[in-house]
Symmetry: D2
Subunit: 349 residues, 4 copies
Amino acid sequence: MNFASDNWSGVAPQINESLMSNGVGSAIAYGDSELDKSVEEKFSEIFEKEVAVFFVGTGTIANSLSMAVYSKPGGISLCHRESHMMEDECGAPELFSGGGRLAGVDGRLGKIDIEDLQNKLDRFDPNFVHYGQASAVSITQASEVGTVYSTDEIKAISDIAKAKSIPLHMDGSRFVNALVHLDTSPAQMTWKSGVDILSFGGTKNGCWCAEAIVLFDLAMADQMAYHHKRAGQLYSKSRFIAAQYDAYLDNGLWLELAGHANKMADLLRKLVSQSSEARLGWETQTNEVFCILPIGKAKTLQEKGASFYEWHIPAAMENKPQKGECLYRFVTSFATSTEEVIEVIAGLK
Amino acid sequence: MNFASDNWSGVAPQINESLMSNGVGSAIAYGDSELDKSVEEKFSEIFEKEVAVFFVGTGTIANSLSMAVYSKPGGISLCHRESHMMEDECGAPELFSGGGRLAGVDGRLGKIDIEDLQNKLDRFDPNFVHYGQASAVSITQASEVGTVYSTDEIKAISDIAKAKSIPLHMDGSRFVNALVHLDTSPAQMTWKSGVDILSFGGTKNGCWCAEAIVLFDLAMADQMAYHHKRAGQLYSKSRFIAAQYDAYLDNGLWLELAGHANKMADLLRKLVSQSSEARLGWETQTNEVFCILPIGKAKTLQEKGASFYEWHIPAAMENKPQKGECLYRFVTSFATSTEEVIEVIAGLK
Amino acid sequence: MNFASDNWSGVAPQINESLMSNGVGSAIAYGDSELDKSVEEKFSEIFEKEVAVFFVGTGTIANSLSMAVYSKPGGISLCHRESHMMEDECGAPELFSGGGRLAGVDGRLGKIDIEDLQNKLDRFDPNFVHYGQASAVSITQASEVGTVYSTDEIKAISDIAKAKSIPLHMDGSRFVNALVHLDTSPAQMTWKSGVDILSFGGTKNGCWCAEAIVLFDLAMADQMAYHHKRAGQLYSKSRFIAAQYDAYLDNGLWLELAGHANKMADLLRKLVSQSSEARLGWETQTNEVFCILPIGKAKTLQEKGASFYEWHIPAAMENKPQKGECLYRFVTSFATSTEEVIEVIAGLK
Amino acid sequence: MNFASDNWSGVAPQINESLMSNGVGSAIAYGDSELDKSVEEKFSEIFEKEVAVFFVGTGTIANSLSMAVYSKPGGISLCHRESHMMEDECGAPELFSGGGRLAGVDGRLGKIDIEDLQNKLDRFDPNFVHYGQASAVSITQASEVGTVYSTDEIKAISDIAKAKSIPLHMDGSRFVNALVHLDTSPAQMTWKSGVDILSFGGTKNGCWCAEAIVLFDLAMADQMAYHHKRAGQLYSKSRFIAAQYDAYLDNGLWLELAGHANKMADLLRKLVSQSSEARLGWETQTNEVFCILPIGKAKTLQEKGASFYEWHIPAAMENKPQKGECLYRFVTSFATSTEEVIEVIAGLK
């Protein structure tokens, strides 16, 4: 019973089959194969716009190169105080952006508070170099804590960024989970709402290792090509990522996998709400469910074979765990079964 | 007829099968799965010594993090003037080492000249900070131009580096091709000859995307873990590299694949030697064959479906192409067939 | 009436005279002159310990190279949320430390809160590379807001840092103002209380451009020499800094200059306390005085020729300005006269 | 008898007097004082064009920030194989440019060979990211070995750079010595011949510590302001550099000082040519004279109190020292006297 992370799950069979069939025969290396090219075109179709696509190996790289291509001397990028870039990337954005800084923005439920963002951006004064200069705003969709920005919220943040002439980046490590929840189009959730660059994740949703940087601003593509290569991300057998995306984006597999994961989370949320042993830490909209459990109950569950992590309590959390309780994160994935969800809740009793 | 590069070739079926079978079910992420651990142990067995292993996505990253972990302010690493780090990594070693410099050492046939290395190292004076400080020596085994250092040669270079208290790195993008040629042990070709850190390549020899940094100096492992994560190389589904190596290192598959590639190159060299239309640029020992061809003949061959690259003429090359001729590189791989080799030579007539 | 900053003041006449007399004749460049050596020895005498001294041009460089020499991949240095490194150095510490991050620690009156420091350090787990690793703690003495750490407070912070095996840096841009206030010895306020590396400022206290990095941990001196040169800080006519320090450290000039500045601030604080037009923002101990004034009064003062800055309200400030009021900073220096202090307060009426 | 370096010399009395008079009273910090502004205007007058000026502390910083502001990912800057940036800046250009590489261009007498430059630039192919991208060309005027580019030569190099859309930087550590030799205008030797950015040195010609970056391309000024601050180069008492330049550029003092140094070198060259004990290594045009001396003679001279350095033999040197001889550099300065020149040559007998 894996509820530890969606990246503990294996790989959707269709992805592996694509690797099998595309692994035969020779093909031009370094991203110039026909498969690479055709998958790149698929991205443009999906986003209803010509985009520049760069395959990379991890979400950390996708985020970091997004910061890098928009970096400036003394540059500061604003992102949520508890975002992945802030908490889990070990200085990668700083390294790739040549020493840029990340500044944390406050906000409830893992989402940037617009007023705090505005205040923090207003502190930068172009006539006062001491403080540095703003270089980007980054949001996470779905957020680290399972919540989702509406397209209006994205637009509002983008407007603030645009007024300061800086780009909006979206960390889409769980992009599809948010997309399915909002039931909107990829175009609407990104460039039509003002997103300039996107980390488009596949790994957490059934791929082995498939992440992509999607540039809506084509003017940056030339320099991104050098950032990409310099970061060691120009894979010789680049088609191993292309092959994964080929299957992933075919016949709506990506939507189906994320839809399943979300549905399993819906079920889990419902059962938690009905349970007298557990309660939700806060409402989430995607495949992450945060529960407050008595510590002993959590231990018992783990002994019964369920894997899940204790979670750091967000600064802005409202109903914090009480004595004897802790906050735990349960993540569902394409591979989670209804039985597992029922079993894990049953284990609470 | 792919002679363009060994990284144009697909993937050995055993590798794909391992991906298939290991893609089912959940496993701890970020390198802590049982498979990851067991493959790491395999490395220690193979090298007859406890080693620290870090899986990475490309040879560029493996080389660059090797430079990074031994970096110093004002540091300069010495490598062959025409090495991959110098010519083909777009500033990655410089980025990851925080601005370290690479300095080119001369040498015939892609191999570092010991006297030139000694002279260049002797210029560094610990009492004269202006010039910087030496931080590492790096050799490529097999070299970029198909040649191989003997273990005595490696030892001699290592002795020079050790006398200056700097480490010896080996770029082993084609490690196994060299190993098979020398018919020696991995231990003998590395730490027993004074190598401190190795980029161990699998991608060019039948894997999809499997490279590893092998640290013989365990004292550096703690900091390498942070370099590795910061470079975006701590893959969540790290087992996708482990699974490749698991099959690769099993039952001598790695040796078999490289042995085949070398044998195909032997045949190619033999046929070129017998040909009146082509001649060898220089003697090589592994799966790269450099030929001087009349430009027209080369074009004809390419029109007949053979892919291969024109090659930059090495500064120290002795019998350079004459008017109307060019230098071309032919690379064989695990997937090259005897028929292809015969056909490509036949195409010359 | 300059109360804008101590760095608006000119230069103590003794400093200029030393430049005059030392500017004649030739001397070995790059820090190897007799004058350089003798001034370095003076530092060791003053600190009652053999120290390594590196002259630099600005406090920003002194702080940044202090971070650099102790930097680590994924390294995070902890300093007060409103420290100079955080607010006024435009990414210099990040650049020189190869992309290290600064993390803000909370605390009243510009001083690090010990509990918050401990909590923030406790979050680093050597088995969890994602979050990065702690690389240093930095305190500012005197703080940016005019307050002073007692030697006991320094010791307590140092103990926490030492328990995590990381060094303690002191930003001593106004070192002497704090020293004079505490009436202790330089040794006691630094290495005897656990400080490993010090930015020792002279510029704000009557020099032109004289800052020094003082390393109490001599093991780092070799690598600091390369950091120093690489940062463009190995001045050819290094004796221009040495000459300033020569006069500065002679006959207690440094203590006298800071003593005067502090005394002028004492007078200013006293007059503000007695005034019905102004009140102190908080108690300070050195040459900075923070006042809350009606905005109109402040404007009038400025029209009368007083220069001073409005100040950002600290997050932890207790009695914040009310409607119609603002917070202003008044800085005294070696050049401030009693008359100026009296005149500026008189101007309030 | 200082012939070791022009940076061993002290300071012209007019410079010190300016420091004396400008050190009194308060002035706005961080480059915003009236003096700063008026000196910046002087630069525009001298260069017959509005320029952006940034005061810095060392030539290393001036060169490095010039590389930084034009840096690109995977960027490579071309400069002479034996330039100061290559040999004497300990990785500073690499650090400030975020890991950019310097590539050495060959050329006789310390000057870039146009054909080699063209060949090296032609290797960069915008469709081949592996090799990186050219980011700048840098020349040294006067060169490290005392020679001078004609304005036609500068124009020819600039044309090559412009054809590749990259800027031309001039390291003018001994700018005035070259200017006086060519008897041309600052405008003609720089932007009118295609120079985009200049390191304008004062330190070697009678200042204490006065270097300036002169940007002819004003579009880069905004970002340079952040590079400058981030490098720790925004001096609070910035007027200490302005004050030096104020005197330096007044009444042609700069030209007079360099003119004297050059004249002393003329005399030295003449006397060497007439001597039977020494001969010139090559013809120079400014204040550096390279002599071949019997080693014993050199030692005797040094024992008699003359200071000068043995010099690294340039790769392209034609008449190299013979057995028992070495190459030595003699540098004259504003402070060198006719008597010293006569005495040092007399000492050879």
